[in-house]
Symmetry: C4
Subunit: 187 residues, 4 copies
Amino acid sequence: MGKGRLEAFSDGVIAIIITIMVLEMKVPHGEYLDSIAPLWPVFLSYVLSFIIVAIYWNNHHHMLHSVKHVNGAVLWSNAHLLFWLSLMPFTTGWMGENHFAPLPVSIYGVDLLMCAIAYYILVHALIATHGRDSEFAARVGSDWKGKIPLVAYAAGIALAFVNVWISLALYAGVAAMWFIPDRRFER
Amino acid sequence: MGKGRLEAFSDGVIAIIITIMVLEMKVPHGEYLDSIAPLWPVFLSYVLSFIIVAIYWNNHHHMLHSVKHVNGAVLWSNAHLLFWLSLMPFTTGWMGENHFAPLPVSIYGVDLLMCAIAYYILVHALIATHGRDSEFAARVGSDWKGKIPLVAYAAGIALAFVNVWISLALYAGVAAMWFIPDRRFER
Amino acid sequence: MGKGRLEAFSDGVIAIIITIMVLEMKVPHGEYLDSIAPLWPVFLSYVLSFIIVAIYWNNHHHMLHSVKHVNGAVLWSNAHLLFWLSLMPFTTGWMGENHFAPLPVSIYGVDLLMCAIAYYILVHALIATHGRDSEFAARVGSDWKGKIPLVAYAAGIALAFVNVWISLALYAGVAAMWFIPDRRFER
Amino acid sequence: MGKGRLEAFSDGVIAIIITIMVLEMKVPHGEYLDSIAPLWPVFLSYVLSFIIVAIYWNNHHHMLHSVKHVNGAVLWSNAHLLFWLSLMPFTTGWMGENHFAPLPVSIYGVDLLMCAIAYYILVHALIATHGRDSEFAARVGSDWKGKIPLVAYAAGIALAFVNVWISLALYAGVAAMWFIPDRRFER
């Protein structure tokens, strides 16, 4: 089974997610600074989510490059990842509109955590398909870089009720860590 | 006539459908649990529809893989399928917003039934193109797996006025049955 | 200059246009038939536009298949076509929401006319690129099938103020005529 | 690392941006000319932005054609460009809804300036990847055509508070200058 259409479909869904997120930034009615100024938390949320979704696309792109074949388990693991990514416009919009209130920041973290778990499952579905001794499995290695986000996001979810800026720093920290494309899948 | 652009166009439309469905889940205004809690039926509807549309994509992907050539009848059968799929965001949103009321659940079933009929027509347009003795026709076989949804959805449409949970169980049951990618088109 | 990305970009834009049109069909608030019944003109408009946009995609698909090379003039003729197609969700929504009132039906015809003109320009930009003696030009031939819509749409625009059903019959008539994929570009 | 998926993802995002911009043109409620007439500034803004985004797609298409390989810096420079392009529906909608008021026209220019800067960075990331002596670098040359927009947009941002029509003329002037596809990357 070819991986071409899986890449094309994922590209399509991720491209749409990253673009419709901006639709949550509603055009304000007034023409002066005071009508656009209150949008800054929505804008900031959008910037953060744009970077995170772009990172997922980059890593997905790199990882699929090394993939030899896909099967039903991979298709569903991938659809599962796309599902949680597809909720990003919603969780981003809710967080932005409520100016980083505790619950929305925490729920945003839940979505990030589910994406990270889904990505982790996808990686392991691909390892299972290629075999533990495959070049693909060797490239993934111990996958500590895939485990750190799980811990950071879980902490962010809980700490949002203490101080949302700690949570946001954790979310941004994971993004910074993943900013550099995944070298494991480069040649 | 190449099938490449048919796949690309279908991928595009299905990717957009699956993603804009989430736009029906409107960002609530409040920042507390009581403003997000009433969204659970919308969320549940979205989960069900996401899985169903993903199944269509998976099966479409698999089936097109075995296709050798397409013609005008296939292009229109495919567009017909995409039409009914494109109504999913609407029927999903209506069902979710009305907390699984009888008529919306029934209408949702009508959309599912039309998608299933359209898929059935597409399969048979492809058989007609390839010939009854073709490898493609042999793979499809008796297509009982394509006939069960027709019966289940028709039952769901009627039974929604008795008890919506029977209908939803039927819709979910078809999804569960189709969850495993269609082996007929795997090698 | 390759035509691959032109096809991919056009596919993307047309796929999005055809899908976001359904967003003009707003989910109604009530759960009974009387809340969904008034949507029938919106639904009917959507069906007509879906078929028309699908025809454009089919013909574009077929024509590009025969194209050997593209240049700047072709890229802009294509973008011009996509521009008028991109207004379809707006003109469709306006016509549907106003239950086929004269002005919206007429403006809908203006959009259709501009699409037809843009397609005509695209065909002739492609002929200019390939040369009057090319196989491509021979296939296009006298292009009477591209000229009939121009006349029919112009008549529909004017006659909407007499009787909108004449206009809608003309629009639907052109769609019926073009329903069969363009045989000139089939082998 | 292949450039194919980078092209596909960029095509997807740009196709969505160009299409959802039209969603800012809300379907009016009345059926007469006086309900659609006030939309002319929104329509005009849409036309301008459609042309500008189409130009970016054309140039991106041409430039990527000459590209031999991409790396992490190129992926992020590209994502950075897509980010500022993704704000076009918002800035376009705000400018149109406020009938070309000074601040929205200026902010629209800020978005255009950021797109131009991002494109400039992308060009130079590609030069760095290919080497200063590469054919790609030779084709880019002194890149005066990439520097003029920076000056024109900066002037437009400031002059919007004097007279918005000067700014709009500058924005349209850059578009006119770039209307002809970038010959440096044609053969």
